[in-house]
């Protein structure tokens, strides 16, 4: 009875079905533990958390330079900036938008620096459904290779204040 004290001498090893289940549970937990390192070395998706300290206003300056150097177009007033193949792209979440829009090539690896100029944001690439956390003061470096072409949207999935629900951005991937 779980609600009554137990007489001393209750310590004993599990038997029968219970023992089998404890063994199975342990084995399954070992599989779970092994799966992550396996995917880290053999899979193509992981979160290394690569990040550098950055002052939000310095990061804004870097974004501005990046836009000035590589703007190739504009969508509803949002500059579209081509990231040099294999090069570095900059994206800032601020004032409830992802700035600027990025242009990438399919199958090419890029370093995307993502940070925030104000609150915490959630970088959420749709409809791919790839999600990373974005913090002010952290230059979060994502090593990204698009595997499909088309237009992709970025939304924000961490609450960031009054305009959170309308915070979006754009990534265009060409063949």
């Amino acid at each position: 009875m779980s609600i009554f004290p137990v007489p001393n001498g209750w310590v004993r090893a599990p038997h029968g079905a219970e023992r089998m289940w404890v063994g199975l549970a342990l084995a399954w937990c070992l599989v779970l533990s092994a799966a992550m390192p396996y995917w880290h070395f053999r899979g193509r998706q992981t979160s290394a958390g690569e990040a550098y300290d950055v002052n939000p206003s310095d990061f804004e300056k870097r974004v501005a330079q990046f836009v000035a150097a590589g703007q190739v177009g504009d969508r509803n007033g949002l500059p579209i900036v081509e990231v040099p193949p294999g090069g570095h792209g900059y994206l800032i979440g601020k004032n409830w938008q992802w700035y600027p829009a990025l242009k990438l090539k399919k199958g090419v690896e890029y370093k995307l620096h993502v940070s925030s100029g104000d609150y915490q944001h959630g970088f959420s690439l749709q409809p791919v459904n790839v999600n990373f956390h974005v913090l002010p003061g952290y230059d979060h470096v994502l090593t990204v290779t698009p595997t499909e072409s088309g237009e992709f949207k970025i939304i924000c999935n961490e609450f960031c204040g009054a305009g959170h629900h309308a915070m979006t951005g754009l990534i265009v991937v060409e063949e």
Binding site: V6, S33, R44, T145, H165
Partner: protein, 570 residues
């Protein structure tokens, strides 16, 4: 035996157990405010469900953020913690045949928690703290919000200290023979984890409070804050798990006379919770910057999977203890122990539904979402609330509701009204939660974000179309309305019963079961029998747990497959 002050105790007419009247008072006070919090949370839940059901889109965003903050705080923190305080008082007194440790600590606990509760609810409702329960810096709430949270936490700490004191005097005065009951052991595990939790909460919230007061110039580092905050946020979920598993054991005993086959296994599983949970805050930070992959993998696997194993063990031992008890009563067949269980007893149905929803729903999704790389396709999508409504609402909250169906008659000594409604309430709440959570999970798999009132992204410069998720959001809405109704029915019945219910002072509570079921259960409770005796098989439980493991394996690997199809990223 016993260490009571005579005029401050009574003997329960139903169970024959002793009840300390001080402890009884604190159980009542905490339970009442728990239920009030649940009611507030449920009213907010209607508004949230009706907003996320995009065809209705009830609230505008600013109100949505306010009510989601209100809902998260009242449900996850206030309702759950007030109930846990009540459980601690009960465990350290009645189950140990002992008195309450300190009246002063009791009032301190309840008073501080009440002041904190009122302060936070005032702050949120007046729109001064729409920062969600997580209050991630550098979002800033008005200072009284943090202060209220801190007062609430200190109150909880006093409750925990009072509990430790109670355990201590019971041992000192030898009020019981042998080792403490399993349920108390579970509560003790919860209380130990609570200490870690509250310390983390203080470390995160004190600087945030000072900053919002203006005493600190700079906000705490947001990455650091998340790490420490989740030392509170996740560890507190382990308190919930410990507490609701203890409640499962308690209700299984009261409703079917269940007896664990091997107490060592159950207790070791509780110890695993204590040992392997302190670093589990990592699985909230799996796609964060500034923490590396090895750290993420080590802390999710080491810290989490041994706790997962503990839950899987309880997921076996609880149904197995029910199965052997039912077989002892002469009920045969593979699943006769289930089909002939007292499903009309809301204490039993809430307990067993809680077990199923927590295991099959919350557990499987939780481990999968908390896998380092899989988190990339789940972080902050609606899959996350889909998961935790099956742990903390369908699991913990439902178990606590089941408990109330016994606490009110036994401790308040009053009977529930409208008993037929009470009998179906666990099904309404549990069913609604499942429908809602499945809707959330499916919408989240399509990328629909959490904490978000408007997937039309009205006013955004770049338009986004998530129309494909419409049917799943309707599911969320409808399931949510059903669940919220289940919660309101529970709160209304319980509040009525607690204050105006028919008194049963001096006699046994009116049983929720048929006389036959009742007689057989009482029989098991009052005679000595051995649950490990050879002829009491647990075949049904074995089948059930194997189905569980198979579902787990399928869901887990399906998610790896989904991950393998997305862009390469690291």
């Amino acid at each position: 035996m016993g260490n009571f002050i005579t005029e401050r105790m009574r003997v329960c007419a139903t169970t024959g157990l002793t009840v300390d009247l001080d402890a009884q008072r604190f159980i009542k006070l905490n339970a009442v405010f728990g239920v009030v919090s649940l009611l507030i949370g449920a009213i907010a839940a209607y508004l949230l469900a009706l907003t996320r059901w995009e065809a209705v889109a009830l609230l505008d965003p600013i109100d949505y953020y306010k009510y989601i903050s209100l809902h998260g705080l009242n449900m996850l923190i206030f309702w759950i913690l007030f109930m846990e305080m009540a459980i601690l008082y009960f465990c350290a007194s009645t189950l140990l045949n002992s008195r309450n440790f300190s009246r002063a600590l009791g009032y301190g606990q309840f008073g501080l928690m009440l002041i904190g509760w009122a302060t936070v609810n005032f702050s949120v409702l007046s729109g001064r703290a729409s920062v969600m329960m997580t209050s991630y810096v550098p979002l800033k709430a008005e200072q009284e919000f943090y202060l209220g949270m801190l007062l609430f936490a200190v109150g909880a700490l006093l409750g925990v200290i009072n509990f430790f004191g109670g355990v201590y005097i019971a041992r000192r005065d030898r009020t019981y023979k042998g080792s403490m009951p399993l349920v108390v052991f579970g509560a003790l595990a919860a209380a130990i984890i609570a200490v870690f939790t509250i310390v983390h909460g203080a470390i995160a919230l004190i600087p945030a409070w000072l900053w919002s007061l203006g005493a600190l110039e700079k906000a705490p580092d947001p990455g650091w804050y998340r790490l420490i905050w989740w030392g509170l946020g996740h560890a507190s979920q382990q308190i919930n798990v410990c507490a609701h598993v203890a409640v499962w054991y308690l209700l299984a005993t009261l409703t079917v006379g269940a007896k664990p086959i091997n107490q060592t296994v159950c207790r070791v599983a509780f110890v695993l919770y204590i040992m392997f949970i302190n670093l589990a805050s990592a699985h909230h930070l799996l796609v964060d910057p500034g923490v590396g992959a090895p750290w993420k993998m080590w802390n999710t696997s080491y810290a989490l999977y041994l706790a997962v194993m503990a839950s899987m063990i309880h997921g076996f031992t609880v149904p197995a203890s029910i199965e052997v008890a039912q077989r002892k009563k002469g009920i045969g067949g593979l699943f006769g122990w289930l089909t002939k269980a007292p499903w009309k007893d809301p204490g039993f149905s809430a307990m067993f539904l809680s077990l199923l929803i927590f295991g099959f729903g919350g557990g499987i999704t939780g481990v999968t979402l908390g896998t380092h790389q899989i988190n990339i396709i789940a972080h902050n999508t609606l899959r996350i609330p889909g998961h935790f409504h099956m742990t903390v609402a369908g699991g913990t909250a439902l178990a606590f509701m089941g408990l109330a169906y016994y606490v009110v008659p036994l401790i308040f000594q009053r009977e529930y009204p409208l008993r037929a409604l009470a009998r179906v309430q666990p099904y309404i709440f549990g069913g609604g939660i499942v429908i809602m959570a499945v809707g959330m999970t499916l919408a989240g798999s399509m990328g629909v974000p959490r904490r978000h009132p408007d997937i039309d992204f009205t006013g955004a410069r770049i338009a986004v179309d998530m129309g494909g998720a419409t049917p799943f959001l309707a599911m969320l809405g409808i399931g949510g309305l059903i669940a919220a109704t289940g919660a309101v029915i529970f709160a209304a019945l319980t509040a009525y019963a607690a204050f105006f219910g028919k008194s049963n002072k001096g006699r046994a509570m009116t049983s929720w079961q048929t006389p036959e079921q009742d007689r057989m259960t009482k029989n098991l409770l009052t005679t000595a029998w051995n649950p490990a005796e050879g002829k009491l098989k647990t075949t049904g439980t074995v089948v059930l747990t194997l189905i569980f493991l198979a579902s787990f394996v399928v869901y887990y690997f399906a998610n790896w497959k989904a991950l393998a199809d997305v862009w390469y990223v690291k």
